[in-house]
Symmetry: none
């Protein structure tokens, strides 16, 4: 990876248009000899692969299975070990919250404790989402602030919620206030640095008050909080790359991630077709576009090979309308693999194709994991994609004399 | 390479079994068009390669020829630049000594000095191994300790021996007490840090006393000591990877290296067949196995192409009995290349195959340097093997949310 300061010093402005298409979790592992991509009919992707430079990208590193946070940071050219996005922030982004520098977010569970304060059910018997909403309303009404710090509670599914503390001086060097095991006493959070002590006190006061408020609501008679985190200080893509970036994504989490690196979020309908429509509509206003297609990952997580094939084929059918825009640089890849046999994210690399006027087309004729492996780009870390896109968009000057 | 702390935070326990087979020095350079691997008949390795993900590993880095210490550390997932094993320690491990935190080891030569103390023969005319034994006994009898530090001398071949100083507070920041040139005066060791001064004094007293004791034994009338080193503080594989590791190796040096990273050493006979037998016998007791096959390296060092082919074919014949154990993850590779035309270790990468339920088989159908290059895994550093094995054994959780 080029050191950040050096890359920045090489970036120049240009009018070229760069498009990055991310098919979430697209990579797979063979089932009866074929991966989902290999089993898909993708005439448009294949035709483009034949005119492109192809390769395989590692989202993070050999053997490492990434969450969506680190894998997207890498796609956007940020070192995922340097910029970490905590669990609380990811959960908040996932439900569409906008966080500021003053926000401290955490993931919450409604849970059950007995009279000695011992956790007997970490999920409060998986209460209904409706009950959850009701409890969040109660908490929100009863506890609005602690020591001048505002508190906001947002329901999720079943026993899950997101909590955001807001005010000056909050820190996130805190242990989880959730032992993640039953049969233990619920204890508060602890400060990992002296500077976080005040924040820890506020959170622990909150937990105590919430437990009082929830007393009548057994089994949901306490809260377990974890993943305390603030938005990391990330330089924007605009300052790093001198581009004007926009994001099109149907899921809040990806919009949130894009916002973290300073992309403008474009309004779009829910279907892939509507996403491409949003791209077309806004094509003149920006010069970098990130389009996220979610369905391939969802199908993989469901272990549904055929559904994943369909999701891939749907994107393939939309490709001609993207190509019609005639982008100067087009990248198609995935953020991580989600093989349907694993029903989860995995560590396997993803195929990538890079199209521009200045690539050396290779012998790759299909957009699959095993075909792209033989491509010009070789196997490389995802963090290198952005420099490659900038170069192909003639947006990087020479390094050194 | 993933930062050590991050990798550690991702490791989870599982019951999967991981096996790493190391064919020492297996990689070669073509002689009349074929490397040793290419000239070998390896039906079992080839059949397995066809069902595996293959690649090429660099033991350390492009162009770097490793000793057995760094190349094995890398195979075990340790950064070989961070953890260094000194010459003295390697020599001690090589003759099967067990070192503790209080041991300081060095390599010794019997040598000849003239009356002015100038070195006239660094190897004392390559005295016989028998004479060496006799001299070591004399030294051991005459000098048992210096200032409370115990001294132990162990004969090697011809003029070579190993010396171990044992006691509290010994340091290894010391220069060699061996100019490695004839025609110079033998001088003692020098401390590279103030804290090592006391150790330097003790060693220099020893050299002086030894030279007095050896006076009647010309040409072996002094000792030259170098490679002063202590066992580095290496976190064990158990704490790093939450595995229970065991090693099977016929040579003391590899057993010693495995012990350094906390593997249990399994008793085994001398032949490859007996090594596989030891694996079978102990298969239930551990979940990570390192099996070392030495003969390919020895044949390479001898410059004996045909003998190396035979050594490779011998391992190939044993493969079915290893596969019968049905490991969840199996890696076969080498620690470094030992091309018979070089008669020494070399910098060339080694083929690797990785077999598990979760790999994408590639088109590689033979386990050779040139075939494996076209594999799914690409060309990558040896330090990435362990994370890959853990991932395939479902022993790493997701990084980030």
């Amino acid at each position: 990876m080029v050191p950040e300061e050096i890359l920045r010093s090489l970036v120049v402005e240009n009018t070229t248009k760069l498009v990055m298409i991310v098919m979430d979790g697209v990579g797979g592992v063979p089932v009866r000899g074929k991966t989902e991509l290999e089993a898909s009919k993708t005439p448009n992707l294949d035709r483009l692969a034949a005119r492109s430079a192809c390769g395989l990208i590692d989202p993070i590193s050999y053997g490492i299975t990434p969450g969506s946070g680190p894998s997207h940071l890498a796609l956007f050219g940020y070192d995922p070990f340097r910029y970490e996005i905590g669990r609380g922030v990811m959960e908040a982004l996932g439900i569409g919250l906008t966080l500021t520098r003053e926000s401290l977010a955490a993931r919450g569970n409604f849970a059950t404790i007995n009279e000695e304060g011992m956790i007997v059910d970490r999920r409060a018997g998986r209460i209904s989402t409706e009950k959850n909403r009701e409890l969040c309303e109660v908490l929100q009404r009863e506890i609005r602030e602690i020591d001048g710090i505002q508190v906001f509670v947002y329901p999720g599914k079943e026993h899950r919620f997101v909590i955001v503390f807001k005010g000056e001086g909050l820190r996130d060097e805190l242990t989880d206030a959730d032992p993640q095991k039953e049969g233990l006493k619920a204890k508060g959070t602890e400060a990992l640095r002296l500077e976080a002590q005040k924040t820890a006190d506020i959170i622990n006061q909150y937990i105590k008050k919430a437990t009082d408020v929830l007393k009548p609501f057994k089994p949901a008679n306490t809260v377990l909080l974890r993943g305390f985190s603030k938005v990391p200080e990330i330089p924007s893509m605009r300052e790093r790359y001198k581009i004007k970036p926009a994001a099109i994504a149907t899921y809040p989490m990806y919009r949130g991630l894009a916002r973290l690196v300073g992309m403008e979020i474009l309004p779009s309908g829910e279907t892939p077709k509507e996403e491409v429509e949003a791209l077309r509509r806004n094509y003149d206003r920006f010069d970098f576009f990130y389009i996220h297609f979610k369905k391939s990952d969802m199908a993989g997580e469901d272990g549904d090979f055929k559904k994943k094939v369909k999701a891939i084929e749907e994107v393939d059918r939309l490709l001609p309308s993207i190509l019609k825009l005639n982008p100067d640089v087009l990248v198609i890849t995935g953020d991580h693999s989600t093989p349907s046999i694993l029903k989860s994210h995995s560590w396997h690399p993803n195929p990538i194709l890079l199209y521009s006027k200045y690539i050396r087309p290779d012998e790759v004729k299909r957009f699959t994991e095993r075909d792209c492996r033989r491509g010009e780009l070789g196997r490389f870390p995802a963090t290198e994609i952005l420099p490659l896109m900038l170069a192909n968009g003639l947006r990087l000057k020479k390094f050194g004399a």
